[in-house]
Amino acid sequence: MRLAGIVVSNFKRHRLRTALTVLSILVAFVLFGYLAAIKKAFEAGVDVAGKDRLVVRHKISIIQMLPVSYEADIERIDGVKEATHASWFGGIYKEPRNFIPQFPVKPEEFMAMYPEFRLPPAQMDAWLRTRTGAVVGRRTADKFGWKIGDKIPIQATIWRPKSGGNTWTFDIVGIYEGAEEETDTTLFLFRYDYFDENRSFGEGAVGWYYIRVSDPARAAQIALKVDETFANSAYETKTETEGAFVKAFAEQAGNIGKIITFILTAVFFTILLVAGNTMAQAVRERTQELGVLKAVGFTDGQVLGLVLVESCIISIVGGSIGLALSWRLVAAGDPTGGALPIFFFPPGELVMGALYVVLLGLAAGAVPAIQAMRLNPVDALRRE
């Protein structure tokens, strides 16, 4: 657009004011991108939770364990396709801050339950051959630089080995990839049979069960059925969809999503006032010049466009640098050093971000642009 020159030259007018406005928009979008990633981190598990997967835990809390014999009982229930279990190991790799979720599982059953964990068949074979074998997700492998063949010592915090001391040593036999970006690739999985034989207490106890149901529409009904089956036993259960389970887990930290949405709304409202004020001032101090433009033949629409474009450029410059920066920050890693297994810049949020950038530009420029459009050149030129 050949009128762009006029717009660009206007930025030279109040460099500091323009720079500060751009900067505040920039900061707002850094926050937007970063908080979007954090929000996603808390929601991702719920998003990717299988609709056909249920989780069975002890009725009192997830910490209480269940008998391993439940697997067979569960699998007999009508509508249950398959069941498998996992447990919380809670060991430490080198330092407590290296947070890695470690689960003893039954390799074939667990990987069948989680087809979104992609493990090459050869590595699966190796796992089945190696009692001390462990399979880790790509993020964790990359984070610690682990390769297949590495021996990884894990310090037990709960499950001391029978063999004495408190170190368990695992052989990395496989690295799984996530089918999607949201897939959790931080898990450290090892064999339940090895775990059960080598733990110094608690044989036959597992943390929770996963169930795959044959018909997701009947999930609620089947969950009830499971809980009925174990009602009045020594180990009563609570069964819920995986989504509900993950959500309940995430909500232990409060309703992060709502808080973040609230913060972002406040940030955008503030930034709208800042940018809107800049544009209002810009138009006010240029009343006479806008009158001149109209006098030489610029239409009301063109003058409106000039103001809107100016407002959008400020927003786009600040917003795109802000989004790019937040992208870099997010790529640099999870701020908690591992507690958020899924931490990435959601592409959908980038699209939303771009949309907000343009919306902000239009909204901030709207009122001043309409004022400029309505400006009567005769009046504008009269005031000296």
Binding site: V296, T299, D300, P377, E384
Partner: protein, 230 residues
């Protein structure tokens, strides 16, 4: 009544409303300006000279009456069409130059051309030509702040003639300049009239400036006359 009449006003009324008060500025005013004339409009301050000029410029509409310029009834044009008409047919020169302070002289001159379909190269050529005519080619890259008043007014005049409109309307073009500099501007307007065939309407309160014109009209009590009645 010949084809040589460029501007024709018939029975023009202009009333402003300020709250409940009505200000009758122009009353039953008629005027014909032949093509190629250099007309000076005089009259006391507040008599409506600028108002009349704005009507001819298509910046404002008469309360009643007709305004025909180059055969077109501009009082009947809608806003958008009128803006386009202004861009093609009139050049405005202001007392306080009204240049955009952030743009260089040549960019200021180029403004009206941005609304045309001319190519970049063609626009450059027209701008260079206009600056040449006003004798400011050597100041093309300067911003208004670095130019003297006389130079700024020359830039303003270059902007008024760059789209090659026949009609140039100047509202007190020397009003902010000292006598000597003002004379230079009047020389330029006279040259535009004589050598470039521009029809010029100049508002002035300075009899010395008015002498440069072909005809002087006085505006008083909303009417034009050839003599200063007072």
């Amino acid at each position: 009544m010949s084809n040589d009449t460029l501007v024709r006003l018939g029975g023009v009324e202009k009333t402003f409303r300020r709250g409940s008060e009505e200000i009758h500025v122009l009353h039953e005013l008629s005027l014909e300006i032949p093509n190629g004339e250099f007309l000076a409009l005089m009259g006391p301050s507040g008599s409506g000279k600028s108002t009349l000029l704005n009507l001819i410029a298509g910046l404002d509409k008469p309360t009643r009456g007709t305004i025909e310029i180059g055969g077109e009834r501009i009082d009947q044009m809608a806003g958008r069409a009128l803006a386009g008409w202004r861009a093609r047919h009139v050049g405005l020169v202001f007392q306080f130059y009204n240049l955009l302070p952030v743009l260089s002289a040549e960019k200021n001159v180029e403004l009206p051309l941005l609304l045309t379909s001319l190519s970049n190269a063609e626009r450059k050529r027209h701008v260079a030509n206009a600056l040449e005519i006003v004798g400011l080619s050597h100041r093309a890259k300067h911003t208004p702040r670095t130019l003297s008043g006389g130079e700024q007014q020359r830039v303003g005049i270059a902007r008024a003639i760059v789209s090659d409109s026949t009609l140039v309307l100047a509202d007190e073009p020397t009003g902010d300049l000292d006598r000597k500099t003002g004379d230079g501007i009047l020389d330029l307007l006279q040259a535009l009239n004589r050598e470039h065939g521009k029809t010029i309407v100049m508002v002035t309160h300075d009899a010395h400036a008015a002498k440069r014109s072909n005809r002087v009209l006085y505006l008083l009590d909303g009417q034009l006359s050839t003599e200063l009645a007072a």
